[in-house]
């Protein structure tokens, strides 16, 4: 009994030191080999170790039961709740990233609006009848009909939005 308690205490001490204090821990494999390294991270199926010869990813089923226990015990407290919370946050981040990307696509692929001088009373040049600007894709005629850039009536009128006025029956507006 005393030996068992001592053994458990030793394992806990070792765990505390190895997992928290960033010191190397001894790991036994099922085939009897031994390895020393610092635990970088562990999941339900594998552990990533920094060893003397580099980083190694080991499936947990290759570890002896004691080593497996030592590694998994260190990441047990509240892990279920934390993992659930992480999944929720990851889903939220992913959704925001997708929205962000969609917005960025709009910004990047839409040409910057071109400068249009005001035609009000402050204009230094004499006012002239407004006609469609070279960059406009829709114009509205004096009769309130909207034409797109492919329409034969596109040439006259003032620039407008794609939903302004009444759609021309020839081009669809």
């Amino acid at each position: 009994m005393k030996t068992t308690i001592l053994l458990i205490a030793a394992v806990i001490t070792c765990l505390g030191q190895c997992l928290a204090a960033d010191t190397p821990m001894g790991i036994s494999l099922v085939d009897g080999s031994k390895l020393k390294g610092r635990v970088m991270s562990s999941t339900e199926v594998e552990v990533t170790l920094m060893t003397d010869f580099g980083l190694v990813r080991l499936p947990l089923d290759k570890l002896s039961s004691e080593s497996r226990q030592a590694i998994t015990a260190g990441s047990k407290p509240d892990s279920e709740a934390l993992l659930r919370r992480i999944s929720e946050l990851e889903a939220k981040v992913s959704q925001l990233q997708q929205e962000n990307e969609a917005l960025r696509r709009q910004v990047v692929s839409t040409p910057a609006p071109t400068y249009r001088p005001s035609t009000g009373s402050n204009s230094l040049t004499p006012s002239s009848p407004q006609t469609s600007s070279p960059g406009a894709s829709h114009v509205i005629s004096s009769t309130g009909k909207r034409h797109n850039s492919g329409c034969r009536y596109f040439g006259s009128g003032r620039p407008c939005g794609p939903t302004d006025g009444i759609a021309c029956k020839v081009c669809g507006g």
């Binding site: 991270s41 990233q97 990307e101 960025r104 990047v108």
Partner: protein
């Protein structure tokens, strides 16, 4: 020796498998560490890099920011059995001439094909392009891609878009070039990370992971995978990455404090299964 045996065991090396060491390194305007470097600065940089490159014991080296094919050839001569399979000739987006930040793929394995291609205009007009080599290892192909995605200088929205656009094009290329189950490794300076808040909206890395690639830094804390140490207002960052497909779950490692560049090299040992022997 014991370690080597253990290492081989851990990696699950079976008969007919090769361990291939891949290194990616952004060499910082090699040679010279800046555009318009003097001859003395160039020479000093060559000496620095020449001293460390052979020490990596690499089988495949993907370099970014090499000036031209000639400088890549000079580096290959330091490595016995190596040849340069491709050095890109991407045009500078500012003046249309060949840029000074090219990508090169060097290897001691033969290549079945190798080329570089600029990104298409796409939806964000990404700069540069990708370098590619189809290496043959024990008669099995290993598709190697080298990247140097848009930097973070300038407009953040445009920068992120350019990286994502480039990644979408790369994923399309992989789909058409590499058959299912063929091994693919994509390495380089992605200029984006998983930690930095200002890059939280960047889906470049997410896109390649969604395409079935494994991030070789998975599970490794940031303090062990800083590939470019902080400078001024820039924090320590992990901008250089290695992604693999159909190569298991290898662990990449940063060769910290390597002199020769503002970036550190990143290395990964891949187990490439050979073709089964005909009489087995």
């Amino acid at each position: 020796m014991r370690w080597l045996i253990l290492f081989a065991l851990f990696l699950g090396i079976s008969h007919g498998a090769d361990v291939v060491r891949v290194v990616t390194w952004n060499l910082e305007w090699y040679p010279g560490k800046k555009p318009g470097a003097t001859q003395a600065e160039r020479d000093a940089h060559v000496v620095e890099v020449s001293a460390v490159l052979p020490q990596f014991r690499a089988d495949v080296i993907v370099l970014q920011e090499v000036r031209n094919a000639e400088t890549a050839e000079q580096l290959a001569r330091l490595l016995p059995g190596f040849s340069v399979h491709v050095t890109s000739r991407f045009k500078d987006s500012f003046n249309g001439s060949i840029g000074e930040q090219q990508i090169a793929i060097l290897s001691r394995f033969p290549a079945d094909g190798a080329w570089a291609e600029s990104w298409k205009r796409g939806w964000a007009n990404a700069p540069r392009g990708y370098a590619y080599a189809k290496l043959m290892i024990s008669e099995k192909p290993l598709h190697v891609y080298g990247l140097h995605l848009k930097s973070n200088l300038g407009n953040p929205v445009e920068n992120t878009s350019k990286r994502e656009d480039a990644m979408e094009q790369l994923i399309d290329h992989v789909k058409s070039q590499a058959k299912p189950k063929e091994s693919v490794v994509v390495v380089g300076d992605f200029n984006t990370s998983k930690e930095q808040l200002n890059l939280a909206g960047d889906r470049t890395l997410k896109k390649i992971e969604e395409a079935g690639f494994f991030w070789a830094f998975e599970g490794i804390p940031i303090e062990h995978r800083v590939t470019i140490p902080g400078k001024g207002r820039y924090p320590d960052a992990c901008l250089d990455h290695i992604y693999v497909r159909d190569l298991g779950r290898p662990a990449a490692m940063v060769l910290k404090d390597t002199p020769g560049s503002d970036h550190f090299p990143v290395v990964v040992d891949l187990v490439v299964e050979g073709m089964p022997a005909p009489n087995k």
